[in-house]
Structure formats: C-alpha cells, structure tokens
C-alpha cells in the first residue's frame, strides 16, 4: 500500500468515527494509530509524539488563560461590561442589538471564550431583545454571530492553539487579531444600523456622559486584563505562559478582593472547570501532532500543493490562500476544535507557498468563527436558537446578513493582509 493511500484511509477513519459521534480524542487516536501501522512505524512513536506536543511551552498558556477567563467570568465583570456597553452605544438606533455586539467584544478581551459569552450574556440579552420587540430569530442570530468576535480579540484560545502548532509568536498573533476583531464588530454594528433604520428599531437608553463615566469607572479595572496580556507580550516583558499566570493573579485580586464576588470554594470550582476544559484540548493538540507527523511522512502536504496548483490555474497568492481558507472553512463546518486537527496537515503547504503565518493565523480564526454559525455543526446558532426558543432554520435565515458580512470580511482580510500584519509589524519595528 502506498503511503498516500494509507494516509487517505486514516483520514477516512477519522471522518467515519466523527460522524458516528465517537469523541474527537478517540477518533484522532484511532486515525494516528492506523497511520503508524500502515506506514510500518513503531507504535511507540505515538506516546512519544503526544508527549512532545504537550511539551510545547506556549501550550502552558492555554490552561492559564482558560483559568483567568473563568475567574473573571465568576468574578462579577460580565454585568459591568454590559453596563459600560449600554452607556456607550445604547443610545443608537437598535441600541440593545449594538449593546449585544459591544458586550461580546469586551467579553472577548476578558474571557476569550465565545461559548461563555453566548451562554451567560445570551441567556439574558436574547429574552430582553425579544421583550423589546426585536424578532426572536434575529436576536438569536445576532447573539450567535457577535459571540464570534471573542476568539478574534486577545486572549484567544484558537490563537494559542495556532501558536502551539506553528511556533508563531503568540504576542504577534494576539496583536494581529486586534484590528480584524474590531472591524468585525464594526461590520456587525453597520448591519444593525442599516436594519434598525429599515425596521424602525429604537434606542435602548438615552446617552448620558455621567452614565458613561459611572459605568466606565466600574468596568475600568476589568480592562487591565487584556492590557497586561497584550502589553506584557508585546513589550517582551512576559512569555505567553507568564502573561497567563499574571492574568490569573490579576483576575484573582479583582474577583476576590475588589469585587468580592468569588470565594475560596468558588475558586476551587473554577480551577476544576479549567482542568476539565483545557485537558481534552491539550491531548487533542498532542494527538494532532502524531497524526500530522504521520501524514507528513506520507507526503500529504506535497499532494495538497499539487492539488492546489491544479485547481488554482493563475499564479496568484490570493487564490492559493483562498483555496486553503476554503478548505479550512469546509473543515470548520464539521470540526471543533479546527486548528489543532487541520493545521498540522496544511502547515507544510503554507510554508511551501511562503504564506505569512501570522496573516493566515487570523484567517484561520475567522474560519473557526464561520464554522460556529454554519451547518451542519453551527454550535453558536444552535445554542442561541435554544435560548430564543426559535427553530434553527429560522435562525439560520436570520443570520444571512451577518454570515455574508463575515464572508465579505474574510475576502477583504485575504486581499488586504496589512489589516492583520500592520500592528505586529509596527511593534516589531
């Protein structure tokens, strides 16, 4: 059997097992074992590769940022962020919808998890939007789409995974996501503004400088978290894992001493959640290294290069990146987490084409966000639809303007790499 056929069989097994609801971890293990067996490699390579994947120092940042996010989430910052967002943009037409987007943006900077944003903020904001005469399907669609801003804004779990797999500087990646994250939020607010004018949605609150000042004062300490992380990484003060540990300590001081919202027993529960949430992801990264190594030995990346050259007839970097991003979007519609599974396979191809890995990192995170709102998985739409008590198809339809918006934004980000690379380059210089 040729190595390429063996690799194909491994990928087929991975897909079949995933479709049969076998956990990602087990499916990846089975595919990696099969690949090692068919290529005649030593089975012991498997634990060895897992251990070497787990040994990547940047990966230590993942549980630390998950923990910091959990502490902030339990520590009474969500309401403060919502209040501040309301004070700033609540007075616009369609105010509550704008507040929804801006809260998600703030949330991304503190928690780094779109699911936490969706489950916590969504469970309160969606019913409130319905009460305020917004259509239920629109409320669910907007909340699902706006929760996707979080992974773009540092600290971002998908970016930590990307950095761990590619070796790209996490600080540079965090900076690269900042402008696209803000632009994505802006694009969603523009869509809301257009719809609000067309459908006559009213402001949610009157603008008051006093309110902005009061809410800002209450929320200001929460913004110390992204400042510590991004500032520390960019200025070279911290390594990613050190930034994570400082974020944890900062979160603890804020939640336990300043807000007094977290007790010791609560801290134990947050720690236990962080162990459970990050444990599986860590092993998946280790396993994806094992599978990636097997597929590279089977010359899958070369095959991918030949395939893309066959499909992309013009010698254009835009089209090559587009082809790879389309592959990521298609995979992202089914796979979650996408990055540790797909990236080890396509990384050699990216290197062969000399594609800027920081630029592509931002595009991969946008692909992750698109995957959360496109069927069949559409996890964000499903959760938001359940909260709003609306049929999934209706939510999917209502999400069309936001989906088109993010796809247009993706094309823009491919065509204009400087959107992602300007800030990291500026800091580097």
């Amino acid at each position: 059997m040729t190595p390429l056929l063996g690799a194909g069989l491994s990928i087929l097994i991975l897909c079949i097992f995933l479709v049969l609801r076998i956990p990602m971890l087990v499916s990846l293990s089975a595919a990696a074992f099969l690949n090692f067996y068919l290529s005649g490699a030593w089975a012991l390579t498997m634990p060895q590769t897992i251990m070497s994947g787990l040994g990547r120092f940047v990966l230590i940042a993942l549980p630390l940022f998950v923990l910091a996010g959990g502490i902030m989430n339990a520590g009474g910052i969500s309401g403060r962020l919502f209040d501040f967002a309301r004070a700033i943009v609540g007075s616009l037409r369609g105010g509550l919808a704008h507040v929804n987007v801006v809260t998600s943006m703030f949330f991304g900077g503190m928690i780094g998890s779109s699911t936490a944003d969706l489950a916590a903020t969504g469970s309160i904001v969606i019913p409130a939007m319905k009460e305020n005469k917004y259509p239920a399907d629109f409320s669910a669609a907007l909340t699902a789409s706006s929760s996707g801003i979080g992974p773009m804004i540092p600290p971002s779990s998908p970016m930590i995974l990307y950095s761990a797999v590619t070796g790209v500087s996490l600080g540079a990646l965090f900076l690269a996501g900042l402008i696209p994250g803000l632009l994505l939020a802006l694009s969603q607010m523009l869509i809301i503004a257009f719809l609000a004018r067309k459908r006559g949605w009213l402001p949610y609150a009157a603008f008051s400088l006093h309110e902005v000042w009061y809410a800002g004062k209450r929320a200001i300490l929460s913004f110390g978290m992204p400042l510590i992380i991004v500032g520390g990484l960019v200025l070279g003060i911290f390594t990613p894992s050190e930034a994570g540990s400082f974020a944890v300590v900062y979160g603890l001081v804020l939640a336990m001493l300043v807000h007094r919202a977290l007790t010791l027993s609560g801290l134990y529960r947050v720690l236990a959640n962080a162990v459970q949430l990050s444990g599986e992801l860590l092993i998946i990264v280790g396993l994806s290294f094992a599978l990636g190594a097997g597929l590279t030995n089977a010359h899958v990346p070369e095959f991918l290069v030949q395939f893309i050259d066959l499909v992309v007839v013009h010698d254009s970097e835009f089209l090559r990146i587009l082809a790879l991003v389309l592959l990521a979007i298609l995979a992202g519609m089914i796979l979650d987490p996408l990055i540790p599974v797909l990236l080890p396979i396509i990384l050699p191809t990216l290197i062969a084409y000399d594609i800027d890995l920081i630029h592509f990192g931002v595009l991969m995170v946008i692909a992750v966000v698109i995957g959360q709102v496109t069927p069949p998985m559409a996890i964000a739409l499903i959760i938001a639809g359940k909260i709003a008590d609306v049929d999934q198809i209706k939510v999917l339809k209502a999400n069309t303007p936001f989906l088109l918006g993010i796809i247009a934004f993706m094309l823009f980000a491919i065509a204009v790499p400087v959107v992602a690379t300007w800030l990291p380059n500026l800091m580097r210089n």
Partner: protein, 203 residues
C-alpha cells in the same frame, strides 16, 4: 427619538442595571455549579479525587510560572527547574481533564449526524462507539505503558526524578478513560435491558 424600554430615563437605567445583575448571576452559575450534584456517592468520590489531583497540578503550574517570572524581574534570578517541572506536570493536567470530561460526558464530539439515525437503531451505533472508545483508549494505555517501561527510567535534567513520573499520566489517564467508558456502557446496557424487560412484561 423615543427610548424603547421604559417611560423615563431612570426607569430604563434601573431596568438595564437589573439585566447586568442577571448577567453576573448567569455567568457565575456557569462557572460555579457543581456538575456532580445528584450523582451516587461513589461516582462523586471518584470524580472529586481526580478533580483534586487536576486542581493541585494546575495550581502548581500557576504558582511556579508566576513566581519564576516575579523572581526573574525582582531578584534577577530564575529557577532552572521551573520550566521542567511545569512541562512534567502538563500530562497530568491533560489526562485528569480527559478523565473528568469522559465521566461528565463533555468530550468533544459531533452529535449532528448521530441524531439523524432512526431512534430504534441509535443504541447499536452507541454500543459500537463504546467498543471503539474502550479499544482505542485501552490500546493507547498499553502502548504508553511500553513507552514508560522503556524510557520512563531516564532522569530529568534539573528536577532529577525519572521522567516516568510524568509519562505515566498517559497510561493512567488513557486506562482510566477506557474503564470509565466501559462502566458507562455497562450502565446503559443494563438500563436498556430493564426497560426492555418492563416492556415485555407489559408494564
């Protein structure tokens, strides 16, 4: 333009502030709810034991990384063993997390296609899934045990303990997860059997 939710500005602000309080409540509920509430005593004890191991490991990682950075900046001294000890504890963090995820049924998986299978056939696919889970994780544990036997005696450079202390997490974690799936399978099979018996008896 009129304001949407209340007749006056103050009413609107207090309405929004109560929403903020509700969001805070929902956020802490997500983080602080005990996922093992209502489970039998033995299940709770097992989960608690593994949870304590995981929480201890994560706490050690936070403290070592934090104080190493502080020491580097304040005393211009970093601990040579810090990086090694963190890397050696990572497999324990990962495997305790995996075990808890298996026990609490939060493993990452795709439900979409499975839900499309006719309800009367789903159990067959579920049983197949359990068999695959147990076989693959059991094999991973076995291979990892071989790995520990061969390389586990190597001594870490700074911490000066055998690396087997770290790599054995892979053996115990994979074996533990395989056993957890086996137990889950047994419980599901028994519950299905008793339901079938009840149906057969016309209850």
């Amino acid at each position: 333009m009129t304001i949407q939710t209340s007749e006056n500005k103050n009413g609107n602000v207090s309405n929004a502030q109560s929403m903020a309080a509700q969001i805070d409540l929902a956020s802490s509920k997500i983080e602080l709810d005990n996922p093992d509430e209502g489970l039998p005593y033995l299940d709770r004890t097992i989960n608690r034991f593994v949870e304590v191991v995981g929480v201890s490991v994560l706490s050690v990682i936070v403290l070592v990384v934090f104080f190493n950075a502080v020491s580097r900046y304040t005393l211009n001294y970093s601990f040579a063993w810090a990086e090694e000890i963190v890397q050696m504890t990572m497999p324990w963090l990962a495997m305790t997390g995996v075990f808890l995820a298996v026990r609490r049924r939060t493993m990452i998986r795709i439900d979409f296609f499975f839900d499309k299978i006719p309800a009367n056939l789903q159990y067959l696919f579920a049983y197949f899934g359990y068999a695959v889970n147990v076989a693959v994780l059991g094999f991973l544990a076995w291979v990892s045990l071989d790995f520990v036997k061969i390389f586990g005696g190597d001594v870490a450079l700074y911490v000066e303990v055998p690396v087997g202390w770290s790599t054995s997490a892979l053996v115990l974690g994979a074996a533990g997860a395989a056993i957890a799936y086996l137990v889950e399978f047994y419980r599901e099979w028994r519950s299905r059997k008793s339901t079938d018996n009840a149906k057969g008896a016309g209850l």
